[in-house]
Symmetry: C2
Subunit: 238 residues, 2 copies
DNA sequence: CGCCAGGTTGATTTCGCTCAAGCAATGTGG
DNA sequence: CCACATTGCTTGAGCGAAATCAACCTGGCG
C-alpha cells in the first residue's frame, strides 16, 4: 500500500458524477478534498479488518473490493462487492465503533480515505449527503434481502446461475461469437461462500452446468453461450 | 392516567424517546404531528403491499408487523419484523418508487402514517433525522448480513435455534420455574421461510429438538427450559 | 355436516456434506 | 535445474439431511 503526498482533487475526480459526493457544493468539495487521501493497494490487500477502529469512510477509485465477514468458526463469507464510485466503511463510521466486516482488494485498487472529522462535518452541513448515504444503505439492504430470498427458495444450482448472471453485469464482456465471457474476480472458495455451499459441491455443480452446455469454466474465466439459458436455470428449476 | 384536551400528538407519544424522531425540535415535532395520522389494524391486515405506491413512512405504535417479500414463484419469505417505535416504508420513500416489500400485521396494531411531504420537509430541515434513518438502515443491513451468514454456514437445526434465541428477546418471558416461554407471532410456514426450509422439514426439526429436551412446542407457544442448551445448538453443531 | 387451512407424519428419492485422495500450478531452497 | 512443499481445485465414495409427494389429523367455520 502506497500513499501520495499531494492528492489529486475530488472536485476533478472522473468518478465524481457517479458518487455520493455529487450533491456537494464547490466549497464542500474543497473540504472533501482537504480531508481525503488516496491509497494504492495490490491484489489481496486488506483495506480494513473486522475489529479495526473506524478511521473514516473509503471511496473506491479503481478496482474491486470484496466485503466479507468471518463467523465464529473462522468461516469466511463474501457478502458484497464494491466497485469504483462506491463508498465503504460508512456503517462502522455511523455506529462510531469498530469495523464489523473485512474489506479486501480483489485486484489492484486505488481507494481514498476520507477522515472521520471531514465526513462528520459534511454530513452536518449538507443534509443531501446523508440522504445519498441512506440511499446507498437501502440499496445494499435491497441486495441483501434479495440474497436471503434466493438463499431460502432456490437450489444451489439456481443460485450459482443467478450469481453468474449478476457477475455478467460488472465483469462480463461480449465475445466475437456473441457469447458472454466473464472473468470472475473471486476464488472458488469465495464463490462457494456466496452461493452458500461447500467448494467441493460448487465444483460439481459447475461440472453439471458445463455438461448441460449452460456455461464452461476454465480457471477464473466463464463462458456463457446463451444468457437466456442461464436465466432459465433460475425460474425453471423449481 | 391523564386525559388530553386534544388527541395525543407525536410530541407526547410514549414511544418518542426510542424513535428516530427524538432528534426533532419542538417546532419540528409540531410539523410531524400535523403530518401524521394513526390507523388501527386487525391481525393479518396489510399495511402496504409490494407494488403499492409509497404514501409516506409508517411509525409503529403498538403490535408487531412482518415485512415479507414474494418471489416470482409466489413463495413468501418473512424478512424482518417491526416493533413499536420502528419506522417502516422509508426505503421506497427514498427511492420515490413503489413498495418492494409487503408489510402485514402479525396481530392487532396501531400504526401512524407520516405523509411524504412532511417527511421530505423534516429530512431537509434537520440533517440529524437523515442520520437517524441511516442508522436504522445500517442496523437492518447488519441483521440481513447476519442472516446471510447464518444461512450460508449453519445447519437448518442451528438456524432454527438461532431464530428462537432471537425471538426470545422480543416475545419471550420467564416462567415460574425459570424456563422461557415464547409466544411466536408467526405461523409455521413463515417460520420455515425464515429458517430457509420447507415447513415439513421444520416440523421434523422441531420434533427432534423436543426429543432432545431443548425446547417443547405446542401451537405457537415454545418453552425453552435452558437458554444455554439452545445457544449450544448454534456453535456446537459444526 | 362437509369443507378448508394449518399442521404433522410417512415413504422415497435426491442432494449436499464429509472425509479423503489426486492433480496441476506455483514457489523455494539447495 | 530439480526435489519438495504449498495452494487451489477436482474427483470419488459413503452417509446423513432435506426435498418431494402424499396421506392424514385437527380445529374452526359457513
Amino acid at each position: 500500500m502506497k500513499s501520495f503526498d499531494k492528492p489529486p482533487g475530488c472536485g476533478v475526480c472522473h468518478l465524481l458524477p457517479v458518487t455520493d459526493w455529487n450533491v456537494l457544493s464547490d466549497d464542500e468539495l474543497k473540504v472533501l478534498d482537504a480531508g481525503h487521501r488516496p491509497y494504492d493497494y495490490a491484489a489481496g490487500d486488506t483495506v480494513y479488518a473486522m475489529g479495526d477502529p473506524n478511521r473514516g469512510v473509503y471511496c473506491l477509485s479503481s478496482g474491486t473490493v470484496g466485503i466479507r465477514k468471518l463467523d465464529t468458526e473462522g468461516n469466511s463469507v463474501l457478502l458484497h462487492m464494491a466497485y469504483p464510485g462506491d463508498v465503504m466503511g460508512y456503517r462502522s463510521f455511523l455506529a462510531e465503533g469498530e469495523h464489523r466486516t473485512t474489506a479486501e482488494t480483489l485486484g489492484p485498487c486505488r481507494n481514498c480515505l476520507i477522515d472521520s472529522t471531514t465526513v462528520s462535518r459534511l454530513l452536518g452541513e449538507n443534509p443531501q449527503l446523508g440522504i445519498q448515504f441512506m440511499k446507498r444503505a437501502t440499496g445494499e439492504l435491497e441486495q441483501a434481502h434479495d440474497s436471503i430470498i434466493k438463499g431460502a427458495t432456490l437450489s444451489n444450482r439456481a443460485r450459482l446461475a443467478h450469481l453468474l448472471l449478476v457477475m455478467t453485469k460488472k465483469h462480463g464482456r461480449v465475445t466475437d461469437d456473441g457469447s458472454r465471457s466473464i472473468d470472475l474476480p473471486v476464488s472458488r472458495r469465495d464463490l462457494a461462500s456466496m452461493v452458500g455451499t461447500r467448494h467441493e459441491t460448487l465444483s460439481r455443480i459447475m461440472g453439471r452446468l458445463e455438461e448441460d452446455g449452460i456455461a464452461s469454466f476454465s480457471g477464473r474465466n466463464v463462458v456463457v453461450p446463451c444468457l437466456d439459458n442461464l436465466a432459465a436455470e433460475i425460474s425453471g428449476s423449481a
